[in-house]
C-alpha cells in the first residue's frame, strides 16, 4: 500500500498551518527537495484557505486533506462539502476574487506550483481540488 494520510478538520483559519505543515512533512519523507516543499506549502495553503474563506459562508464545516505517495511524487487533494463554485473557469482566473482583500491568486498558485491540477465542484455539494507534484529527477551519475 502506498504511504498516505488523511487529515479531517473543521474549516478554521488556525488549521491552514496544520494542513500546510502536515503536507510538507509528508513531502519531505517522500524525498522532495526543500524548494519543492516550499511550493507544496503554498499550494496547500491556498487550497485550504479557499475552503476556510469560501466553502461555508459565515459558518464552519468539514474539510479533508489527503496526501498519497505515488511512484514519481505525491498526490494531494483538499475537499469540502460546502457551497461549491458556480463558475470554475472564472474562479481560476488571476485577480478574480469575491473578496476585495484577497488577490484571486489562490488557483493560480495551486496550478503554478503543481505539475497537474484539477478542480471539481458541484454547487451546493462541495469542491475537491487535486494536485500532483512530481519529484525532481535525481541527477544522473557521471
Amino acid at each position: 500500500m502506498a504511504n498516505h494520510f488523511e487529515l479531517h478538520c473543521p474549516s478554521r483559519a488556525e488549521n491552514v498551518g496544520l494542513c500546510r505543515v502536515s503536507a510538507a512533512t509528508f513531502a519531505a519523507n517522500a524525498g522532495f527537495t526543500v524548494a519543492e516543499i516550499e511550493e507544496i506549502k503554498v499550494a496547500v495553503s491556498e487550497a485550504v484557505s479557499n475552503v476556510v474563506v469560501h466553502a461555508y459562508p459565515n459558518a464552519e464545516g468539514a474539510m479533508v486533506l489527503r496526501c498519497e505517495e505515488m511512484e514519481d511524487g505525491i498526490q494531494i487533494s483538499v475537499s469540502d462539502q460546502g457551497v461549491g463554485i458556480e463558475d470554475i473557469a472564472q474562479a481560476r482566473q488571476a485577480s478574480f476574487s469575491t473578496d476585495p482583500e484577497r488577490m484571486g491568486l489562490g488557483f493560480v498558485f495551486m496550478e503554478s506550483f503543481s505539475d497537474e491540477f484539477a478542480v471539481e465542484s458541484t454547487p451546493g455539494r462541495g469542491t475537491r481540488v487535486e494536485m500532483r507534484k512530481r519529484r525532481e529527477a535525481p541527477a544522473e551519475a557521471s
Binding site: 524548494a35 516550499e38 495553503s45 498558485f109
Partner: protein, 108 residues
C-alpha cells in the same frame, strides 16, 4: 505573528515575524491600518523574519499599498527571503510596490 513597530516622523517600520497566511492576515491588517490611520504615510514592511507567505498575506500588503496610494503615501517591502520573494514575484507585487533587499535601501 509578531509585529514590531518603529516610528520615525511620518515613516512607520513594521517588522513581521512568523508565517504570513490567513491566520495572521487579520492582525497584520489591523496593525498596519492603525499606522495609516495614525497619519503615517510612509510604510516600510520588513519581511526578514517571515519564512512563508501566501495570497492571504499578499492581499493584506496590496490592500495597504492601495490605501496609502489613495492617501498620497508610499510603501516599501524589505528583507524578503528568497522563498517569499518568489511568491511576491509570481504575484506581480514588485511591479507596484517597491521591494528592496534591506531597510538601508529605503530612500530617506
Amino acid at each position: 505573528m509578531q509585529i514590531t513597530v518603529k516610528l520615525q516622523g511620518r515613516t512607520a517600520m513594521a517588522a513581521l515575524a512568523g508565517e504570513f497566511d490567513l491566520t495572521a492576515a487579520a492582525s497584520v491588517r489591523q496593525e498596519l491600518d492603525g499606522l495609516i490611520d495614525g497619519g503615517h504615510r510612509r510604510l516600510v514592511v520588513d519581511l526578514k523574519k517571515v519564512p512563508f507567505i501566501d495570497s492571504s498575506g499578499l492581499g493584506v500588503l496590496l490592500g495597504r499599498y492601495r490605501r496609502l496610494s489613495e492617501l498620497g503615501g508610499e510603501m516599501f517591502i524589505v528583507g524578503a527571503r528568497p522563498t517569499v520573494r518568489t511568491v511576491l514575484e509570481m504575484s506581480g507585487v514588485p511591479q507596484v510596490v517597491r521591494v528592496l533587499r534591506s531597510e538601508s535601501e529605503v530612500p530617506r
